[in-house]
């Protein structure tokens, strides 16, 4: 299905136009980073990146590359705006969230540029909904400066092995402690809650371990309330890469396969918790 191209009355072209046959390819990824109301959208010729931050400690990015869209055109070098993510998700799922096979909501997104609202045209079963969402001044985003040369430890795990662990994390613990080491316990997730401490150990030779590159023993703690939202991304993903740098900054990268088998990525960056008391082993 296609919408006629809409040249605005003033003659200015849209700086961003994108079409998706199945809006779920976008909405499910956005849900994986939806832990705050507001997000920053960043569009380039390569695709769309949606960023959410909290407490100046955690940042999540959802990447939907241009190839996922049926149409994706960006007129400027980059287009950036801040938007209410809760409202955006409500609009994208306006026809409901149940995913019946064979039915999907088609989406066309248009943005005229700075100061203009984001226009969404959604269609399902012949019914069309038009949404206009106000955009805001983009705020400065954190730069974790996480590049592969600074990585000290890296593992890639099949998500299946971590899903349950994250869903059952002891939320009475303030922190999630991550230990990565070339020696035992190799990869350990620990919590210190009301009931006592709990440790989840993954050996380096586990079938779940796709890659194990740990050079140094590192133990870092992160605020569990900040990391818990990443469980959504984990639930959607098939693989996750866990990396830390020398300062203990954490990078979680989730490989997500959508309904059509296309691959997208979501990543979470987190600062280590500064209030460190002696780790209970």
């Amino acid at each position: 299905m296609s919408f006629p191209a809409q040249p605005p009355a003033s003659g200015e072209p849209y700086v961003l136009t994108a079409s998706l046959d199945n809006a779920r390819h976008l909405s499910s990824l956005l849900r994986a980073v939806h832990f705050q109301d507001h997000a920053t959208c960043f569009a380039t010729a390569s695709g769309l990146r949606v960023t959410v931050e909290d407490a100046k400690c955690i940042q999540a990015n959802a990447f939907i590359q241009a190839e996922i869209f049926q149409e994706f055109a960006v007129q400027e070098e980059s287009v950036i705006f801040r938007i209410n993510l809760s409202v955006l998700l409500d609009c994208l799922t306006i026809f409901g969230t149940s995913s019946l096979p064979g039915t999907s909501t088609a989406l066309r997104m248009c943005y005229r540029g700075y100061g203009y609202p984001l226009m969404l045209f959604l269609e399902e079963g012949g019914v069309v909904t038009v949404c206009k969402i106000n955009t805001q001044e983009p705020e400065e985003l954190l730069d974790f400066d996480f590049c592969s040369t600074k990585v000290v430890n890296k593992i890639i795990l099949q998500s299946e092995g971590l899903r349950e662990a994250f869903a059952e994390l002891d939320m009475t613990s303030e922190v999630l402690q991550i230990t990565m080491s070339p020696d035992k316990p190799y990869f350990r997730l620990s919590t210190f809650g009301n009931a006592g401490s709990a440790h989840l150990d993954y050996p380096r030779d586990s079938d779940l371990m796709e890659a194990f590159h740990c050079n140094q023993t590192q133990t870092n703690r992160y605020k569990i309330s900040l990391l818990k939202p990443s469980t959504k991304a984990l639930a959607l993903s098939c693989k996750v890469s866990i990396r830390t740098d020398a300062e203990g900054f954490l990078s979680l990268q989730y490989m997500i396969r959508n309904e059509d088998g296309q691959i997208c990525f979501v990543e979470y960056y987190c600062c280590p918790d500064e209030n460190i008391t002696e780790a209970e082993l």
Binding site: D170, N194, A195, H199, L200, D201, D205
Partner: protein
């Protein structure tokens, strides 16, 4: 509320490996307790346990004050939980099933199918023995409730539904159904027959499950009947209905008539403990001698607001303390509160 006691005793053979700590001579056996919620939290999701956990290691680390539960899961993953524990005195209720005058044994399924007829919110149920070896179950109605406005459910089980019946006829006990349901669920799941040992009203009822490697006891206080024992024990304001005869289907109509008429009259006033004021119950002279002999306490679950007689410490106006005629069945390991 100290009106119930449960114990699960696992024999060494229940485990794949059992290594008891060799106690240093002169010291007592080590006992500790952990928060139930914390312990159950480790085994939170039964389906996922079945799917992914191979074995569980339980270790006591007395010096670190930790009970370690280690789950060995699929893919080589290990989940270790270090639970804090408290050392405590041994908590053991004193009871002797041999002393009970009545014993019943039935497959758990029979009893589960019987209690399904009672609402989940029902607090107490009365178990009674009738002529012909029939066993009745009926919901307990508070004496304050108006007989004409209360629904009474009563069902009778024939002797042949039980594996063994050795009861004194005309006996009746009332106990907490909610606590019994818990045990029943476990008994059904493990397919074990349940034995019920009971005596006079007021004496605790003991439920046991026996297996080669597991011994389970649930001891519940029962409502005491404080009028003289010579009266037929009644546990609520509705008069006792005649047990259906063996030609039950033929007698159904007359039985139903009896049911209707009895609920429309008021019954005799309930002989149960008045339960409104925190007074120690008057001692039953007949029981007193026996009590001193074996230290049994007539366990009376008092008014819903306070139930504490089973383990001693009746709530008197002056505060917790033992009523003169009662001995403590089992000391509260937490101490007097």
């Amino acid at each position: 509320s100290r009106s119930a006691f449960a114990s699960f005793l696992f024999a060494p053979l229940f485990f794949q490996l059992y290594e008891p700590r060799v106690p240093t001579p002169g010291t007592e056996r080590f006992r500790c307790k952990v928060h139930m919620k914390s312990f159950l939290g480790v085994f939170r999701s039964l389906p996922s346990l079945e799917k992914s956990v191979g074995k569980c290691l339980i270790l006591l680390k007395p010096r670190a004050s930790r009970l370690v539960l280690q789950l060995h899961c699929k893919y080589g993953v290990t989940k270790t939980h270090n639970l804090a524990f408290q050392e405590c005195e041994e908590l053991q209720a004193v009871f002797d099933t041999q002393r009970c005058s009545s014993h019943l044994c039935a497959p758990a399924r029979v009893l589960a199918e019987a209690v399904v007829h009672f609402p989940l919110t029902l607090a107490e149920v009365t178990l009674g023995t009738g002529p012909g070896g029939k066993i009745s179950l009926r919901n307990y109605v508070e004496d304050e409730a108006e007989p004409s406005k209360t629904m009474v459910t009563e069902l009778w089980l024939a002797e042949d539904e039980f594996q063994s019946v050795a009861v004194s006829p005309g006996s009746r006990i009332t106990f907490c159904l909610k606590e019994f349901r818990g045990l029943l669920t476990f008994a059904e799941a493990s397919n074990l027959p349940l034995t019920i040992h009971f005596d006079e009203p007021g004496r605790p009822v003991v439920f046991t499950l026996d297996d080669t490697v597991l011994e389970v006891h649930l001891v519940l206080a029962t409502l005491s009947n404080l009028e003289s024992d010579s009266q037929p024990p009644l546990t609520n304001g509705v008069s006792h209905l005649p047990a259906p005869s063996d030609d039950f289907p033929d007698d159904l109509e007359s039985y139903m008539v009896a049911l209707e008429t009895s609920t429309s009259e008021g019954g005799p006033p309930s002989p149960t403990f008045p339960l409104r004021t925190p007074q120690p119950p008057p001692s039953d002279p007949e029981e007193e001698d026996e009590e001193d002999e074996e230290g049994a306490v007539p366990g009376t679950p008092p008014h819903k607001k306070f139930r504490s007689l089973f383990f001693g410490s009746v709530l008197t106006p002056g505060g917790p303390g033992l009523a003169p005629t009662q001995e403590v069945l089992a000391e509260d390991s937490d101490g007097e509160c």
